[in-house]
Amino acid sequence: MNTKEGGKGMQTTMEKAQVTLPSDREVQVRRSFKAPRALVYRAYTEPELLQRWLLGPPGWSMPVCEMDVRPGGQYQWRWKNDEEGSEFGFSGTFREVEPPSKLVHTEIYDPGTLGGYPGGEAIVTVTFTEQDGLTTVTTLIDYGSKQVRDGALATGMTDGMEQSYQNLDRVLKE
């Protein structure tokens, strides 16, 4: 990253996250960041960094973030709503680990006390490409069936978490 441009007040407005449904069992999310991809890759693979941003809407924290980032290594992520105490998690196994360009892992949703569809094992492919100092992260989630995908879209990271959306602006400014 060009440190001269890293200061506050110089932040360029990034292209916002794009969500598409490439097939009836997949979801794709794409977003660009003004940072070298080695850095972005780190933020995706170092637990103490991931824990700081993979939180969904405000009100949720990620008390469990354990990752053994290598082919065959396992991970466990758990989120907790700090106000009402509900929790849920994802766990799985890394299948491909190619720093700094690609991560493939399985994903099993544990509804915990939040609820929603358990729905089997999804395959998550995250690719990092860099051009002109801009890193684009593409996340493709293959749920294996339309039913499971729609269930996942409707719950988990969406429904149970939206109640505190009005606080979003405040928290992002902190």
Binding site: T3, L21, R42, E46, L49, K146, L153
Partner: protein, 128 residues
């Protein structure tokens, strides 16, 4: 999400999952059209088009017009708007994550020396 809304979204996304049906919707976005007119650009039979139209109708995405002879189909915007709003909520959740990620990137990008140390440390760590 209430059950009816969830069922409606199921129908909407099922209807949108097929490229022919999406092309039909794109055509109807330009104005109403009869079954025959809708079938024209596609290398498939009129009965096959009718089957697609049925799925689109069941999802409430299109409606048959008054003209008894032509029964022109026209677009119904509401279910599409609902589906879009629903996906937007999902998108907003990711965007909240990515906005925080930008903050994290900016911070670790400012400290290149620590970056190297952290990377080395991580390589040898076993979390599970």
């Amino acid at each position: 999400m209430e059950l009816n809304a969830s069922k409606r979204l199921d129908d909407t996304f099922l209807a949108l999952a097929d490229p022919t049906r999406r092309a039909i919707l794109a055509r109807l976005a330009r104005g109403e059209a009869s079954v025959r007119e809708l079938a024209e650009p596609f290398a498939i039979s009129q009965p096959a088009i009718s089957k697609h139209l049925k799925i689109l109708e069941r999802a409430g995405l299109i409606r048959a017009g008054q003209d008894a002879q032509r029964r022109p189909r026209r677009l119904e915007g509401k279910p599409l708007a609902e589906a879009a709003a629903w996906l937007e909520r999902y998108r907003a959740t990711w965007e909240a994550n990515f906005t925080r990620l930008e903050g994290v990137l900016e911070e670790i990008g400012r400290r290149p020396s620590k970056t190297k140390r952290a990377r080395k440390r991580t390589r040898h760590r076993r979390h599970l």
